[in-house]
């Protein structure tokens, strides 16, 4: 990996840190999901290259903070129970606030970044 690749990775990592919680809460707004599924959806759908070592501690922290709740479910098609996460009312409010802030920020920032090309 070249030094420019490493710089690009570091930049992306810092950007991801700021949006990971928003993406996660947004995902759980759809329906309750378990860790592996959350990881795959965020990687494929949101383009966030995060690891298990980042996701599970975050889920743990959000659970403790009351933004999400968890329960173990044993589904018929699974060989073992899975821990599902769902948004709480507090999490929903936090999601709404973060989503509003993000959309406002990106709208303004995109317009600013594209000002010279228009």
């Amino acid at each position: 990996m070249t030094s420019s690749d490493k710089s690009s990775d570091t930049r992306r990592t810092q950007l991801y840190k700021g949006v990971l919680e928003l993406a996660l809460l947004s995902l759980l707004d759809e329906e309750p999901q378990y860790g592996l599924r959350i990881l795959d959806r965020l990687r494929e759908g949101a383009g966030l290259d995060l690891s298990e070592g980042t996701l599970y501690p975050l889920l743990h922290r959000l659970n403790k903070a009351g933004l999400i709740l968890s329960e173990w479910r044993h589904e018929a098609d699974a060989s073992h129970p899975r821990k599902y996460y769902a948004l709480t009312a507090i999490g929903q409010a936090e999601l709404n606030a973060q989503r509003h802030d993000w959309l406002t920020l990106t709208q303004n920032l995109n317009a600013f970044l594209l000002r010279r090309s228009s």
Partner: protein, 191 residues
């Protein structure tokens, strides 16, 4: 070594690394990791590939341990728990480092006041706040070279050292608690 035993070994190490956590939390974290790994292997991934995203046991366990120590410190209001929590953060958090440093400084002041108090009780004529004819000031035990120095505070020395102990202890605990709260707040604001 097959995939099942590789995962089993990693999970056993994780359980040992999380030994300081309450059993329910520890089991929950380990079981969730197990479910994830078993799903990945069942989908065709090797154990090594499935474990790659978790990193080393130490790295994976660290945020859970730090979270637990911090929560315990905040809820228990116990200085020792707070110190332990801040020590785990001090390498990566300037707030934790400064909190511990100031707490240690005030802790040192507590000790000094305590030693002065004990020394005064043992040697009331040789400990206190002294001045001599040459306008030299001496605090604590009077040096043998200081001749003709007069103690100025009398019994107020006891009052001031006891007040010093209480105030220093209070400030040391305050530094620990403020640092702990600052770290909790910072963690809740960042992913």
């Amino acid at each position: 070594m097959n995939d099942a035993s590789t995962i089993h070994i990693w999970l056993n190490e994780l359980e040992r690394a999380l030994a300081g956590l309450p059993e329910a939390s520890r089991r929950d974290i380990v079981n969730e990791a197990r479910a994830h790994l078993e799903d990945r292997v069942a989908a065709g991934l090797s154990a090594r590939s499935a474990l790659h995203g978790f990193g080393t046991v130490k790295d994976y366990a660290r945020p859970f341990i730090e979270d637990f120590l911090l929560s315990r410190a905040i809820t228990s209001n116990h200085s020792l728990h707070m110190i332990k929590a801040l020590v785990t953060h001090s390498a990566r958090s300037i707030v934790a480092f400064l909190g511990l440093t100031f707490a240690a400084a005030f802790g040192g002041l507590t000790l000094i006041n305590l030693l002065w108090l004990i020394d005064k009780i043992g040697s009331p004529d040789k400990v206190g706040y002294f001045t001599d004819a040459g306008a030299n000031n001496y605090i604590g035990r009077l040096p043998t070279s200081a001749l003709g120095a007069t103690e100025q505070l009398g019994p107020w020395w006891y009052v001031l050292t006891i007040a010093g102990i209480i105030l220093s202890l209070f400030l040391a605990r305050l530094c620990l608690r403020l640092s702990g709260f600052a770290i909790v707040r910072a963690r809740s604001q960042s992913a």
